[in-house]
């Protein structure tokens, strides 16, 4: 099993990691016992994602997908962000090993959860 350079880059130098105090949207998916948990924090103005942060407990692939997907939704409209698929995330990373494809679902789900949280509070 071998990761692409892009995966390794996002894993070693994750973008947008951390937390946002009092986020407009917050999502958390996964469970510690499955070996993966991901949190997304969103700062949203007029339905545009102005800031995003994540924290991830998981393998390199989970961390890299978290990182790149925050880049992919930054400055995007929430409806656009909702359309982000795990496939697109994996492609942006130049692919993931087959056994690791499921890790990329986590990012997609966490973003959806965070946007739903924002919508429900609106």
């Amino acid at each position: 099993m071998q990761y692409s350079e892009k995966v390794m880059d996002h894993f070693m130098n994750p973008r947008n990691s951390g937390v946002i105090e009092n986020p407009d949207g917050y999502g958390k998916v996964g469970s510690p016992s499955c070996g993966d948990v991901m949190e997304i924090f969103l700062k949203i103005e007029d339905d545009i994602i102005k800031d995003v942060k994540f924290r991830t407990f998981g393998c390199a692939s989970a961390i890299a997908t978290s990182s790149i997907s925050t880049e992919m939704i930054l400055e995007k409209n929430v409806s656009e962000a909702l359309e982000l698929t795990n496939k697109a995330v994996a492609e942006a990373l130049d692919g993931l090993p087959p056994v690791k494809m499921h890790c990329s679902v986590l990012a997609e789900e966490a973003i959806k959860a965070a946007i739903e949280d924002y919508m429900s509070k609106k």
């Binding site: 070693m12 951390g18 993966d36 948990v37 924290r55 407990f57 393998c59 390199a60």
Partner: protein, 389 residues
């Protein structure tokens, strides 16, 4: 700096071992089963290697069978007894922390109608002799408990297990893949009927295994073919591999005591310093007799692969769980077996030291590891929750 701390997965072949093997590729290349001079020369080398190992183990050369791996030896022993003693019973006792070569073979035999008891272990990975005694039935034909565990290093009380097995006239097999060249291994004194060794764990070649079969122990066949190895294991003998394994074992036992002491000290130093430098970690099986160079560390609130790859980035090779299960994404059955909660099991790293590791290397790891753990914990939601509590 490159630091190899995965010696329980496999080891570098010792230069002297390779040197001993070299003539048997292109010079003395005959088939040891052949009657002519080319074959007899190979055969002589093979039988000398067998004698070397027999002397080290204190057994007869005729009681040793060369195989192609520890896995094959384990299969030969377990399936072999299962088949040969089928009429006497169908019950096998093993521990819940065996290597997949034993564990999955037992699981497979369950499908064939054998009944298997998986003994539990305590938090140090030790089986309970009372539980073992209670598990024995009239149908029990085999007890197979490993000598030293590959993931956490726990050394089982196999002499006592052997005693219990011998009293009940049950065949006793032990997987000594991790202990060969490191711990005392005298099957006769220790009451062992079947014993598995693999060449590549003590600076010998990969693809070489050995099974000690105490004279008189019946074994059904796993693989059939020609008459090699006194008809017990067919296939053209891998002469260089055989010579290499014998040379490696001899070298390992020659320096066994000093090397064990050195490794234990290095490992203890590593663990003590790590405990000082990194909070919220657990050294697994610390309370049990352990293999000298094995250190299993659980880094709470983290996932093993991310630690492994970050260390790898710094040239440091370790393993999360055992190498064989790295394609599987489940938490290790060994770590769960000693009672580590699943979420912490995922954050466990095995550092396995070997004869080529130095104090400088350990110091390098001790310098590189803490910032990695800190960085990864900074982005771990579980760590966030923990510090906020």
């Amino acid at each position: 700096m490159k630091v190899y701390l995965d010696n329980n997965a496999t080891t570098k072949v010792d230069e002297k071992v390779l040197e001993a093997m070299l003539p048997y590729f292109g010079e003395v290349y005959g088939n040891p089963s052949s009657m002519h001079g080319f074959g007899q020369e190979s055969n002589k080398a093979m039988e000398e290697a067998r004698k070397t190992i027999a002397d080290i183990l204190g057994v007869e050369a005729s009681e040793l069978v060369f195989t192609a791996s520890g896995t094959e030896s384990d299969n030969m022993a377990i399936r072999g007894v299962a088949r040969a003693y089928k009429r006497r019973g169908n019950h096998i006792i093993t521990s819940c922390i065996e290597h997949p070569a034993v564990r999955n073979t037992c699981k497979d035999l369950e499908k064939e109608g054998y009944e298997v008891t998986y003994l539990s272990v305590d938090e140090n990975g030790l089986v309970d002799l009372e539980e073992l005694k209670a598990a024995i039935k009239r149908e029990t034909i085999l007890i197979t408990v490993m000598h030293a565990n590959n993931e956490i290093g726990t050394i089982q009380p196999i002499e006592e297990i052997a005693k219990i097995a011998n009293e009940k006239k049950i065949v006793f097999h032990t997987d000594a893949v991790q202990s060969a060249g490191k711990l005392k291994l005298k099957p006769k004194e220790m009451g062992i009927d079947l014993l598995t060794i693999s060449g590549h764990k003590f600076y010998g070649p990969k693809g070489m295994g050995l099974l000690y079969i105490k004279q008189g122990t019946r074994l059904g066949k796993v693989i059939t073919g020609g008459g090699q190895e006194r008809k017990r294991r067919p296939g053209t003998s891998d002469v260089p591999g055989i010579v290499g394994m014998a040379t490696a074992l001899k070298a390992a036992v020659a320096h066994q005591e000093e090397e064990c002491k050195r490794l234990s000290e290095l490992r203890d130093y590593f663990e003590e310093e790590l405990l000082k430098k990194v909070p919220e970690i657990v050294i697994n099986a610390k309370g049990a007799p352990r293999l000298p160079g094995t250190s299993s560390v659980t880094f709470k609130y983290l996932e093993g692969e991310s630690i492994l790859l970050s260390l790898n980035y710094k040239g440091i090779a370790v393993s999360s769980g055992s190498a064989c299960s790295s394609d599987e994404l489940q938490a290790s059955h060994v770590l769960l077996g000693i009672g580590i909660p699943v979420e912490f099991a995922h954050g466990t790293i095995r550092f396995s030291l070997g004869k080529y590791n130095t104090k400088e290397e350990i110091d390098y790891v001790l310098a590189e590891l803490p910032p990695i753990i800190e960085r990864l914990r900074m982005i771990s939601p579980l760590w966030g929750e923990f510090v906020n509590k």
